[in-house]
């Protein structure tokens, strides 16, 4: 049991971070506004969690301009995908 709990990733303890990772697992990319809307969050709240996940290099962002409006797109990194999968497996083995 202890080893399984050790496999749980501390970075994913927050439900918001789980949400961000879930969205980016099944979508090639998503912009800030879409994620915000899906998770029903405020700008600041989402930004802090995104910064944390970016710091861990679980997600990466690409900035571009659509017309004159800046648009920030997020996508999952290989490391993020692997860590999230490990976390999912750990969750599943815990409830079994």
């Amino acid at each position: 049991m202890a080893t399984i709990i050790a496999n749980l990733n501390k970075a994913f303890e927050s439900r918001i971070r789980l949400g961000i990772m879930s969205i980016l697992m099944v979508n090639d990319s998503a912009d800030f506004g879409t994620i915000k809307e899906l998770l029903e969050l405020t700008d600041g709240n989402l930004a802090s969690h995104i910064k944390a996940l970016e710091g861990l290099e679980y997600i990466k962002c690409t900035k571009q301009f659509i017309g004159r409006k800046p648009n920030t797109n997020f996508s999952i990194t290989d490391l993020g995908r692997q860590c999230f999968k490990d976390h999912l497996n750990a969750l599943e083995s815990l409830i079994r």
């Binding site: 789980l18 969205i23 999912l88 599943e92 409830i95």
Partner: protein
């Protein structure tokens, strides 16, 4: 333990919500089906049952059939947008987001191909094959778009394709298969989806 279960549930929900078009309402299917059945009944009773009894020439018959089909199409799209919009509003979401666009894009490729092909055959006077073509391409369009929405759409698509092939085999009874495919199947699948997803 409780938290882990809740976490998994939240992950699953967010994956679905962010990648699937879930605003599709069963009601639009039911109403589209009813419209199609009514218009097919009209076309059958007034034009196709006994062609010798009508005063219309063949081009006129084709024109009336095309107009009827166009009315069915417009009403169905109208119902589809209206009820999806209502459902999206109820779920606190925008109707036209990236996933909706992806769904529509994948729906439209086979649909427009089939539409153009049908018009070519009508232009050449081979109207009998049109029921089969519309059913088959509509079915393929649904199968193509079903990756982004409810699983039922996939099976509805397969049903339509099978009916389309049957309509091609029994070429002169196309209207029967068309009515089953666009009318009755829509009502049945619409009702199933309404009960399963909307009445929650």
């Amino acid at each position: 333990m409780e938290k882990q279960l809740e976490d998994l549930k939240a992950i699953r929900e967010m994956m679905e919500k962010s990648s699937k078009f879930l605003s599709l309402s069963g009601l639009s299917g039911i109403l589209a089906g009813l419209t199609a059945t009514a218009c097919a009944a009209f076309a059958y009773l007034y034009l196709l049952r006994d062609p010798s009894a009508t005063d219309y020439s063949r081009p006129q018959v084709i024109l009336i059939l095309l107009t009827t089909a166009f009315i069915v199409l417009s009403l169905s799209i109208g119902f589809g947008i209206f009820f999806s919009w209502k459902k999206a509003r109820k779920m606190n979401q925008r109707l036209f987001n990236k996933v909706t666009m992806k769904t529509l894009y994948n729906l439209c490729i086979p649909l427009i191909t089939g539409g153009i092909l049908s018009l070519i055959f009508i232009y050449r006077g081979e109207i009998e094959i049109v029921a089969a073509i519309t059913l088959i391409f509509y079915g393929l369009a649904l199968i193509n778009a079903s990756r982004y929405t409810f699983d039922e759409i996939h099976y509805l698509g397969i049903t339509e394709v099978i009916l389309g092939i049957a309509a091609a085999i029994f070429l002169y009874n196309g209207i029967i298969f068309w009515t089953i495919g666009f009318g009755i199947c829509h009502i049945i699948y619409g009702a199933i989806m309404y009960k399963k997803y909307d009445l929650k």
